[in-house]
C-alpha cells in the first residue's frame, strides 16, 4: 500500500460554540492515493465542502489529523502552507470566482502571479494551459464576456496552470447544462488519465460520481458508504496503484504544464 497523498484520520469539525454549536463532521477517515479520482457524494449540508476544505488545507479540523504525503499537515504554517496551497493544489469551485474586469489570461495566471513567476514565463504557461482547454483565442477577452461553459474551462485552466498534483473540484458542473457539464467532466477525467493528476470531486450528482474510481458517501458528517467502480478499478489497477510512483516522471505527465 503506497503512502496516500492525502488522508483524513478521525477528522471532526464543529462550527460555533455553546448552544449554536454545530458538528459538520463527526469523525471522518479517508485515504486518497495519488493518481486516483474520488467523488465525495452527499446531500446538501452533509459536510462535503467542509471535508474538501479540510483536505485542501484551507481550514483546520477541530480534532483529528489531515495528512499530506503521510505527514500531519497541522505542522504546515505560514509560507510553507501558502506554498503547498499554491504549488500542490488546484481549485475548481462551484462558483467561478473569476475577476470580472481582468482578461481571461490574467485570471488564469493568478496562481503564477501569487507564486511570483515573472511576466513572460507567466504568459507562456498561461497560454499553454488555455490551449490545453481550447481557449487560446479567448485569452484577451474579459472573463465576464464568456459563456458559462467557457468560464468553467477558464477556471480549470487556472487550476492546472501551476502544474498541481491534486485538483479539488466542488460541484464543477453544478452551474452548467448537461451537455456543457459533460464536456467539462471529460476534460477533468482526461487530465486524470493522461497526467495522473489526483482528482477530488465534490458532488451530489450520481452520474458524475459514477465516472470516478471511488465514491465516498457522506451523511450528517459521517462516511456512510464507500464504493469502488469495478471496471474503473480494473482499468485504474495499473494506473493508480502500480504506476502511482512513476506517473509524474512520465513523459505525458509534463503536458499539464
Amino acid at each position: 500500500m503506497p503512502v496516500p497523498i492525502l488522508a483524513a484520520r478521525d477528522v471532526r469539525k464543529s462550527y460555533g460554540r455553546g448552544p449554536t454549536r454545530f458538528d459538520a463532521l463527526k469523525g471522518v477517515s479517508l485515504d486518497i492515493v495519488e493518481g486516483e479520482s474520488i467523488a465525495i457524494v452527499g446531500k446538501s449540508g452533509s459536510g462535503k465542502s467542509t471535508l474538501m476544505h479540510l483536505l485542501a488545507l484551507l481550514d483546520q479540523p477541530s480534532s483529528g489529523v489531515v495528512e499530506l504525503n503521510g505527514r500531519d499537515a497541522a505542522g504546515l504554517r505560514g509560507s510553507n502552507l501558502n506554498t503547498t496551497r499554491n504549488q500542490t493544489f488546484g481549485f475548481v469551485f462551484q462558483q467561478f470566482f473569476l475577476t470580472p474586469g481582468a482578461s481571461v489570461l490574467d485570471n488564469v495566471t493568478l496562481p503564477l502571479k501569487i507564486a511570483g513567476v515573472r511576466g513572460a514565463e507567466r504568459r507562456r504557461r498561461g497560454m499553454a494551459a488555455l490551449a490545453q482547454l481550447e481557449l487560446a483565442d479567448k485569452a484577451k477577452n474579459k472573463a465576464t464576456d464568456l459563456s458559462g461553459g467557457q468560464k468553467q474551462r477558464v477556471v480549470i485552466a487556472r487550476a492546472l496552470v501551476n502544474d498541481p498534483s491534486v485538483i479539488f473540484a466542488d460541484e464543477p458542473t453544478g452551474n452548467l447544462d448537461t451537455a456543457t457539464g459533460a464536456v467539462v467532466e471529460d476534460i477533468l477525467f482526461d487530465l486524470n488519465r493522461s497526467t495522473g493528476i489526483t482528482l477530488i470531486i465534490v458532488t451530489h450528482d450520481e452520474e458524475l460520481a459514477a465516472r470516478c474510481d471511488r465514491r465516498v458517501y457522506i451523511r450528517d458528517g459521517l462516511v456512510v458508504d464507500e464504493a469502488t467502480s469495478a471496471h474503473h478499478d480494473a482499468h485504474r489497477g495499473h494506473g493508480a496503484h502500480a504506476g502511482a510512483a512513476e506517473q509524474p516522471a512520465d513523459g505525458d505527465g509534463e503536458v499539464a504544464a
Binding site: L58, N82, T84, N86, F91, Q95, I114, G116
Partner: protein
C-alpha cells in the same frame, strides 16, 4: 507575488471602481492643494524677507542697548541719581538707559567686538528742494554696512567728507523732480531745530533714490558726514554729558562669525549688562510671526487631509467588502496575509499619491497665476515680492506626508483584508 506585480495589481485595483477612486482623490486633492498654497505663501514671504535681508547686508553689525534694570526682576526699580536716561522717540520702548562714553569703552573691551560706534539719532523738521514745499521726513539710522535698494544713483558714501543723502522714491515727485534720475546731484535742504529751539538748515547732495522695501524705504539715508553735522546742530545747547549719550551703539564683529560665535558674543554682552540685536534678529521676528500664521493655515489643510484620510478608509473598506471572494480565492491559492495587506496599503498610497501630486501641480499653477495677478495690483508697492513661491523640498514633503496619511488610513481596511479567512470569504455571497 513579487513587488512589481503587487504594485501593478494595486494600481489596477484602484482604477477598477473609478468613480469611488476619483471622489477620494478629489478629497485628497483639496487638502494637498491648500497645503501647497499655504506653504507656498510661507516660502514666498520668507524668501522675500531673506532676499531683503541679504540686500541690506550689515550681517556683521549688532545694535547694542543697555539692559534695563527691570528686565531682571518685575518689581519697581530703585532710583539711581547716577544713571541717566535718554528720551527716546521709539514708540514701544519708553525710556531706555543711555549709552555713555564709558559704556562705549566697556563694549570695545568685550572679546569678539571689532569696533564700537554710538548710534546717532537725529530728528529733522523738514526737507526741501529749491525753495519748494517743505516735507516732514525721518532721517534713517543707517547702520554701517547696510546697503539700500536703489532706484537711481548710488549709496551715500560713508567715508566721504561732503554731505550726501539718499531720498526715498516717494519724495521724488513731491519735492519737484521730474524723475528719479533727475534728483541725483541736486541739493536738498534739511531743516533742524537745536536744544535751544533755534531752527537752522543744512544742505546735502542727493546721491541716491531708494526703493520702497521692508526696511528703510520711507526715511532719508544720510552718510556719516551729514549725520554728524545734523547731530552737532541738534546738540547745540546741550551739556557735554547730554550730548554724548546715545540710545544705542553699533558693534561690529567678524563677518565670518558663525551663529554659535554670535550667540557667544550676545551672551558676553549680556553678562556685561548690554543687549545685542543683529539685523537678522530684528527681521527674524517678522519671520516668526509669518511662520506662525502659515503654521495655522497649514493646520487647516492638514485637517482637510485627515478628513480625506477617512475617505480613503471608507473607499477601501468598501472595496475590501466587494472583493471578499477575490481575497478568499487569492488566499486559497497561497497568497500570504502580508501580501494582501501590501496590496491594499499600496492601493491607498497610490490614491494618496494621485491626489497629492495633482493637488501640488494645480496648486503651483494657481500660485503662479495669483503671483502674476497680484504683482500687477495689490502687491505692486512691494517690488520683488512674489507672494507664492515653491521650493521642491517642501512640495516633496507635502506629497510624502499625504502618502503617509494615506498609508495609515489604508492599514485599517488592509488589516481586515489580510485577516480574512479564505473559507469564510469563499462562502461569502
Amino acid at each position: 507575488m513579487n513587488g512589481f506585480d503587487l504594485i501593478r495589481s494595486a494600481i489596477g485595483n484602484s482604477l477598477r471602481s473609478k468613480t469611488r477612486t476619483v471622489l477620494t482623490v478629489i478629497a485628497i486633492f483639496i487638502g494637498a492643494f491648500t497645503l501647497t498654497l499655504t506653504s507656498g505663501v510661507g516660502t514666498g514671504i520668507n524668501d522675500y524677507i531673506d532676499s531683503t535681508l541679504s540686500s541690506i547686508g550689515a550681517s556683521d553689525v549688532m545694535s547694542v542697548t543697555k539692559t534695563p534694570a527691570d528686565a531682571q526682576n518685575d518689581g519697581p526699580v530703585e532710583y539711581d541719581p547716577d544713571s541717566s536716561t535718554v528720551e527716546s522717540d521709539r514708540p514701544a520702548g519708553g525710556d531706555i538707559e543711555a549709552i555713555t562714553s564709558t559704556d562705549l569703552d566697556t563694549l570695545a573691551a568685550v572679546p569678539g567686538v571689532l569696533s564700537v560706534e554710538p548710534a546717532v539719532s537725529v530728528r529733522a523738521d523738514f526737507v526741501q528742494y529749491d525753495g519748494g514745499t517743505r516735507y516732514q521726513s525721518a532721517i534713517g539710522e543707517l547702520v554701517p554696512g547696510m546697503s539700500l535698494e536703489l532706484a537711481a544713483g548710488e549709496q551715500p558714501d560713508a567715508s566721504a567728507s561732503d554731505d550726501q543723502i539718499a531720498i526715498p522714491q516717494s519724495f521724488v515727485e513731491p519735492l519737484g523732480f521730474a524723475d528719479d534720475a533727475d534728483a541725483i546731484g541736486k541739493t536738498l535742504t534739511i531743516g533742524i531745530t537745536d536744544a535751544q529751539g533755534t531752527q537752522s538748515t543744512i544742505d546735502a547732495t542727493i546721491v541716491g533714490v531708494s526703493e520702497p522695501g521692508l526696511v528703510g524705504g520711507t526715511s532719508a539715508a544720510p552718510n556719516t558726514a551729514l549725520l554728524d553735522a545734523l547731530h552737532q546742530t541738534q546738540s547745540v545747547g546741550l551739556t557735554e554729558k547730554a550730548a554724548q549719550t546715545y540710545a544705542s551703539a553699533t558693534v561690529r564683529f567678524d563677518p565670518d562669525a558663525t551663529d554659535a560665535q554670535i550667540a557667544t558674543l550676545k551672551a558676553d554682552l549680556k553678562a556685561a549688562g548690554y543687549d545685542g540685536v543683529t539685523v537678522e534678529d530684528q527681521i527674524g521676528s517678522f519671520k516668526t510671526v509669518i511662520d506662525a500664521i502659515i503654521l495655522v493655515l497649514n493646520g487647516f489643510a492638514v485637517i482637510a487631509l485627515l478628513a480625506a484620510g477617512f475617505g480613503i478608509v471608507n473607499t477601501l473598506l468598501m472595496s475590501v467588502q466587494e472583493r471578499t471572494r477575490e481575497i478568499g480565492l487569492m488566499k486559497a491559492m497561497g497568497m500570504s496575509g502580508g501580501r494582501v495587506f501590501g496590496l491594499f496599503t499600496i492601493e491607498a498610497v497610490f490614491i494618496g499619491f494621485l491626489g497629492s501630486a495633482i493637488g501640488v501641480v494645480i496648486g503651483m499653477l494657481a500660485g503662479t497665476l495669483a503671483n502674476s495677478v497680484l504683482s500687477g495690483g495689490l502687491l505692486s508697492a512691494l517690488p520683488g515680492l512674489s507672494l507664492v513661491a515653491f521650493d521642491p523640498v517642501s512640495l516633496g514633503v507635502i506629497v510624502l506626508t499625504v502618502m503617509g496619511i494615506a498609508f495609515l488610513a489604508g492599514t485599517i481596511p488592509a488589516l481586515r483584508a489580510a485577516r480574512q479567512d479564505p473559507i469564510t470569504s469563499l462562502r461569502y455571497e
